[in-house]
Symmetry: C3
Subunit: 161 residues, 3 copies
């Protein structure tokens, strides 16, 4: 690693489970706080974290895409990767996080944005799911493919979550 | 990272879910296309992607291994990591990928092979599951363990999918 | 990577599935065996691997935390990430590993400890789940946060499992 440049960490946020998003954003904010350049590349289920509509809606082009869009929902619908109990557990987990004074998922996302973490959306999965940049929060810097991701993340670590 | 050598990316393909295999092979082909040396090390569920028999069959030594082999199936049976609906979703997803002119999983695997991505199979998981190199497509370069994987992937990034 | 220093590999053990723990500890022991410095940072479900009580118990502060603690259980209750069949499969898998003379999960954990793999527990997830260092095996070196993890893992690869 080149020590003269800023340290860099790039996260491929694929899974979009509540607990894995908490892990991704904790790592991202924590790294940005100690002066790392941090990139998050949201792809597939991970796109849920950055949708403008936080609940369920029929976004996407075509009936199948709309159905997947509804099933996936937004950041309020992300499931726990285990013991999800039809969506009850992420709410309980948020309650536990509040009680312990730990930042919740939405606070972690806000912190990442405030700390200038670069947020990118994956062009190909958006294409498959029929969604566009307009479906995302305005803080998304760009819609990119693998080649640009490799370029932006070069010289640092790449982590798939 | 040594800039005089070719850039390198190594993927541990563990999960073997349809969507995660799409992610792994997209990253692999995309990286190989911009002149990275790419290695994929298939282990455990990931071995499904490289089985010769694309459907279900009783491969493996011993009754338990055969049962697991049947349950795991081949690349045609890989589930979606979420909303699998008894295997319907990977088919719908392939349909959506075709409709949007995005490469399907089997096309992505072919592309990776055409772009000289190095495919390796994990010795230990083959041993546990009782399967041999003959059960895989001929493009598998070698059957290796952790030490060789570390050696081949040295000087580049390692990503676990 | 600095070639004058010892090679380094750091694993974020998040998932805590039986098969993913086997993968994490195989990679850790294999790397330590060829003289890598290896760190494992246990977070969230991954904490199950290092709990003192290997079975289910009501550890944690508060009713909700206790319920999660019971559901999560210890290393004897970690599920297979697929085909878990209510916990039967990890037992079958252990049987298959024994039969093939492959190290089982508990043997892999012992090997990692014997090979001086550094084991760390994630402060924030312990806080959310209401568990303390006393709930873990004594081999846990320290309870740390993101900043310390970044520091300890610097100059080597970081892998999220």
């Amino acid at each position: 690693m080149n020590t003269s440049e800023k340290k860099k960490l790039s996260i491929i946020s694929f899974s979009g489970d509540f607990d894995k998003l908490v892990a991704a954003f904790t790592l991202a904010s924590g790294s940005a706080a100690v002066n790392y350049e941090v990139n998050i590349f949201f792809t597939f289920w991970g796109l849920n974290a950055i949708k403008k509509k936080k609940g369920r809606s029929f976004i996407g082009k075509g009936a199948l895409a709309k159905t997947f869009g509804f099933l996936m929902g937004g950041v309020k619908n992300v499931p726990l990767s285990r013991f999800n109990f039809f969506g009850v557990s992420p709410k309980l987990m948020t309650f536990m996080m509040r009680k312990r004074n730990v930042a919740t998922l939405s606070e972690l996302i806000e912190a990442a944005i405030a700390l200038n973490v670069n947020l990118y959306a994956c062009e190909m999965s958006m294409h498959i799911l029929g969604i566009t940049k307009d479906d995302f929060i305005p803080e998304i810097k760009d819609v990119i493919g693998v080649a640009s991701f490799l370029q932006y993340s070069e010289g640092g670590d790449r982590i798939f979550i």
